[in-house]
């Protein structure tokens, strides 16, 4: 699954994203923790405050109770009554007895006894100003809190001394208590911070209002406070550590991951930018062994890649060269020629320059081949190639484009210079002695030249695409001449060669071949002499208005336009349709002519696959001309034998029209041999020729082939054919080619 484009980011973006996300999550976690604990802390503070309030309230209540109880006990003390009874030693009693007794509490500032008139038992001269001192006389018996300016709160409490067996008031006892020290020493505070405890007020206040004048702070849970401080410290430490961590992670990441990746990425980009250049590996040393290994691996891999690439290049060049080099002659082959020619066409389109096309061909090469054998033929080709190449200027290579056909492309040369080059080559060929390879007679070569500007030196008037065809025509012209073996293409050659083929006709033929329109198949019967069994040779016609175009004109166009494969394909389709429509009677057959070029097509076998279902009811014969078979014998064997195994029959057409070599007969992948009409007619020739024909026919029969004699036009010829051993006859005697198979039955 391909991730969305937005997710494809650099490692920095991802790192920053992860870092920021992680940091935010950690901060969120810490913040959440802080908030939770803060709430707990607040709750605990509230609880502590409540406990402190309750504690203070309780202590104040107890203080009032205790002080009241204390002063009651004091008032009931025998020795107080003793002093009222006899005040002689009051001061001694105060100093030496009272303060050492259990009645004088630690934080009492003063205890005084007053007489029943509320005056001090022993009068003092000075006025008492310190609130810690009790007044000289009691003005108000109610308990009062006296506040001082230095935040001291003193309690003044008085209690009457009553005679035990009556209500008689004997006197009064008064105590002054420094409240804050009293509270702090008399009570232990569990929930109140003693240091925060203080009493404030102005003037005096009744004891009942004591709670309104006390200020304090609760003791927060020390564990909680310690924990809170610990958490604060922890959070601060965590934040510092987080910050340090981020820095360390960022620096570490940069050093460990990001930088190496940047360096490696840059290195890879360098290699990508200049893949054929050998860069030294980055000098940086990485922390991670994996990156180190990756760096070495990339470098080594690139080195290996360069080595491999070089080897591949070498191999490619070798293969490229081999693919474009003719094995026999070691010169450029047909593929190299096609590429070179296409380049010429392309460059010509951009910038037209003078271009000439030159074709060399060995005259009567097939006869030579047949006479001296293929090995000698090959030697002729090899020597010819070397000779032509040597005679050519260095910048003009020669291409072997056919069996004995060589082509040369010449540019930026005038017509005359081109002719001179051709002449030099031809002279070299003619001067070369082929006796070294066993050829005694003198070989002749023909040269055809075409030129983009055949008539004018400074005007390009000829289309470059025409040059091969024109050179070919010129070469054929040269072949026809014994004296002028170099022919330069002239426009007249076209009219001479194809005077009947008008442009309109050409267009009709080409269109029919490409579209199938106007093609009309004619069928000429072929009859077996033994059982009169018929099959038909299919022959193409093309309709043009009210007339028919016949094979001479059709194949003239096909050969010049190299449309052999296209017309064969179209004929096969037409015949297939005819069989399908029942045009060709069942239990007969049809014979289909195919060209050498079609035979050499990769899809040759598959072209006939649609016929396979009809093989039971039709005899399907594929006719191949002799030259095609001989020129490509091994390949033809493999392809034709496949078809034969499928049930097709192979016929060798026009046997005897060329340079048939009887020695090939035994090895040909064929079932039928068709004698050319010239051989059939030769049965009427002199006795010697007749015997040769008959012997040849006999040899064919003995080789196991069926023998078809073409051109049987009368009864006499039929009889001679039978005598010669023909298994089948074909000719006007049986019927001319016709749209719907027609047959006369002479037998």
């Amino acid at each position: 699954m391909r991730p969305p484009a937005i997710l494809i980011q650099s490692i920095k973006i991802y790192f920053i994203t992860f870092l920021v996300t992680g940091t935010l999550l950690l901060l969120l976690l810490i913040g959440s923790l802080y908030k939770e604990i803060s709430e707990i802390q607040n709750t605990m503070h509230s609880k502590a405050q409540l406990l402190a309030d309750q504690e203070i309230e309780t202590i104040l209540e107890e203080t009032i109770i205790n002080l009241t109880s204390n002063i009651l006990e004091l008032a009931d003390w025998d020795e107080v009554r003793q002093q009222i009874s006899d005040r002689s030693f009051y001061f001694y009693w105060q100093d030496d007895r009272l303060k050492g007794s259990e009645y004088f509490k630690k934080n009492y500032a003063q205890v005084e006894i007053y007489d029943k008139n509320k005056w001090l038992l022993i009068s003092v001269l000075s006025q008492r100003e310190s609130p810690l001192e009790l007044p000289l006389n009691i003005e108000d018996l109610s308990t009062q809190i006296i506040f001082t300016q230095n935040d001291t709160a003193v309690l003044h409490m008085f209690e009457p001394i009553v005679e035990r067996d009556s209500d008689k008031i004997l006197g009064y006892v008064g105590i002054s208590v420094n409240l804050l020290p009293y509270l702090l020493t008399e009570y232990s505070f569990k929930y109140t911070d003693e240091l925060s405890l203080h009493l404030t007020g102005i003037g005096s206040a009744p004891l009942s209002e004591l709670s309104q004048h006390i200020a304090y702070k609760p003791i927060t849970n020390p564990v909680s406070d310690a924990l809170w401080q610990l958490i604060n410290d922890f959070i601060l430490t965590a934040l510092i550590l987080l910050f340090i961590g981020i820095l360390v992670v960022a620096i570490s990441f940069k050093a460990v991951f990001s930088h190496p990746l940047e360096v490696l990425s840059l290195y890879v980009q360098q290699l990508k930018k200049s893949p054929k250049k050998a860069y030294p590996e980055p000098s940086e040393t990485f922390f991670l062994t994996e990156f180190e290994e990756l760096k070495h691996s990339i470098h080594d891999y690139h080195g290996d890649l360069l080595t491999t690439q070089k080897a591949l290049n070498d191999q490619y060049h070798l293969v490229w060269d081999q693919a474009r080099r003719d094995v026999l002659t070691n010169i450029s082959n047909r593929r190299a020629f096609d590429e070179a020619w296409n380049e010429v066409l392309e460059s010509y389109e951009k910038k037209p320059i003078q271009t000439a096309f030159m074709l060399f061909d060995c005259d009567f090469f097939k006869a030579l081949n047949d006479t001296y054998g293929h090995e000698v033929g090959d030697d002729v080709i090899r020597v010819s190639a070397v000779t032509i190449q040597k005679a050519l200027p260095m910048e003009h290579p020669v291409f072997r484009i056919g069996g004995d056909e060589f082509a040369v492309i010449i540019q930026n040369k005038s017509m005359q210079e081109t002719i001179d080059i051709a002449s030099k080559c031809l002279q070299a060929l003619q001067a070369h002695s082929f006796s070294g390879i066993g050829i005694k007679e003198k070989l002749s070569f023909s040269v055809g030249i075409s030129h983009t500007n055949p008539r004018s030196e400074d005007q390009i008037s000829n289309a470059i695409e025409n040059l091969p065809r024109q050179a070919d025509i010129a070469m054929y012209k040269a072949k026809q001449s014994h004296q002028y073996k170099i022919k330069t293409y002239q426009a007249e050659f076209d009219s001479e060669t194809h005077s009947l083929v008008s442009n309109e006709l050409v267009n009709t033929i080409v269109e029919a071949i490409h579209t199938g329109n106007n093609i009309q198949m004619h069928y000429q019967p072929i009859q077996a002499i033994s059982d009169n069994q018929l099959y038909y040779e299919s022959l193409i016609r093309i309709k043009k208005i009210d007339t028919l175009i016949y094979p001479y004109d059709i194949f003239s166009v096909v050969e010049r336009r190299r449309l052999e494969v296209e017309i064969d394909t179209q004929i096969i389709q037409q015949i297939l349709i005819a069989i399908g429509k029942g045009v060709i009677p069942k239990n007969t057959g049809v014979s289909i002519n195919v060209s050498g070029k079609t035979l050499l097509q990769n899809n040759f076998v598959s072209l006939f696959e649609p016929f396979i279902p009809y093989l039971k009811e039709y005899k399907i014969v594929i006719e191949i001309v002799e030259n095609t078979l001989i020129d490509h014998l091994e390949y033809a064997k493999s392809v034709l034998n496949i078809l034969r195994e499928q049930g097709f029959l192979i016929a060798l057409d026009d046997f005897g029209s060329g340079y048939s070599s009887i020695r090939y007969l035994a090895h040909m992948p064929i079932d039928i041999i068709k004698f050319d009409m010239s051989m059939t007619l030769a049965l009427r020739a002199d006795e010697k020729t007749k015997n040769i024909i008959q012997s040849t026919a006999e040899m064919v029969r003995r080789s196991g082939y069926d023998l078809v004699l073409e051109g049987v036009e009368d009864e006499d010829m039929l009889e001679k054919a039978k005598q010669a051993g023909a298994t089948h006859i074909q000719g006007y005697l049986l019927g001319k080619p016709h749209v719907i198979p027609e047959i006369k039955n002479p037998m």
Binding site: R81, Y92, R97, G100, D165
Partner: protein, 291 residues
């Protein structure tokens, strides 16, 4: 042993009965002592009017609530004697509690004698024709001095328990204290000071007059006074009183040599408390009833 156990059991049962039924209720009575005009209080329980009333006087610095006094009072009330247990005022009106060594002591032996006299008179005023005086420890000394100074036909018997003398070097009395006190008195300086007296060693805070008044009761004075008594008297001493460590067991011999009838309760302490308490009480009852 069996006898001791039976006595202990009997005492416990009596105490329980007293506590449970509260058959005997003490009445707090008071009177103004003259000439000090200090109101004194006492626990008074009325018993069989045909039986003599018994005035029970507490010891040094204590009150009638001291356990020896309450125990004696209780056993005598069981025997249906009327009892009067006054608190010497020690110049404290309506004194209720024991006082400390360091309390200011202004009282004198003479004050005590006056108060005893007043309480004897009070008893007589209540209709008691016969009175027995019973003192414990220094209370015995006060009663002895009272009897030495006063003759009253209503008083038919005196019982001194744990009787010792109050002045003597062996008791811790410092000659320097005596000298200083006498000097102060001579100088009319009666401000209180710390003395060594009785068990209040160096912290008996008293006026010189107060201190010196009790020193009259030295060893020989006490023996002589005993001898001079004109009424029948018994002296009941604890066999294991730790004060013998100071005064020596010769004190018992010396007592025996006097006209008093000495009874020694073996095994018991100064306060007659503990397992021999019943022995003391039996002896006490025997003494009273025998008389």
């Amino acid at each position: 042993m069996i006898r001791q156990l039976s006595k202990t059991t009997l005492l416990s049962v009596c105490l329980l009965i007293l506590t449970a039924f509260g058959s005997v209720k003490a009445e707090i009575v008071s009177q103004i002592i003259q000439p000090s005009k200090i109101k004194a209080v006492a626990d008074y329980v009325v018993g069989d009017p045909n039986k003599p009333a018994i005035l029970i006087l507490h010891g040094f610095l204590t009150t009638n609530q001291f356990h020896t006094i309450t125990a004696i009072s209780n056993i005598l009330q069981e025997e249906e004697f009327s009892t009067l247990a006054p608190n010497l005022t020690l110049r404290i009106p309506q004194r209720r509690d024991s006082i400390k060594c360091n309390s200011i002591h202004t009282n004198t032996l003479e004050d005590d004698v006056i108060e005893v006299k007043d309480w004897v008179n009070w008893l007589k005023a209540q209709g008691h024709k016969k009175i027995i005086l019973l003192g414990h420890s220094s209370g015995s000394s006060s009663l002895l001095q009272y009897l030495h100074e006063n003759e009253d036909s209503a008083i038919i018997l005196a019982i001194f328990t744990s009787l010792f003398y109050l002045n003597g070097a062996e008791l811790g009395i410092q000659n320097s204290d005596i000298a200083a006190a006498k000097l102060a008195v001579a100088a009319q300086d009666n401000y209180p000071r710390n003395y060594s007296f009785n068990f209040c060693q160096k912290n008996y805070y008293a006026t010189p007059n107060s201190f010196l008044s009790y020193l009259k009761m030295d060893r020989q004075y006490t023996l002589d006074t005993l001898n001079s008594l004109k009424i029948p008297n018994y002296t009941i001493m604890a066999g294991e009183d730790k004060r013998y460590n100071r005064v020596g067991l010769e004190w018992l011999k010396e007592l025996r040599a006097t006209s008093t009838k000495l009874v020694i309760i073996n095994g018991t302490n100064h306060f007659f408390s503990g397992e021999y308490e019943l022995d003391f009480q039996d002896s006490l009852i025997n003494v009273i009833n025998g008389y």
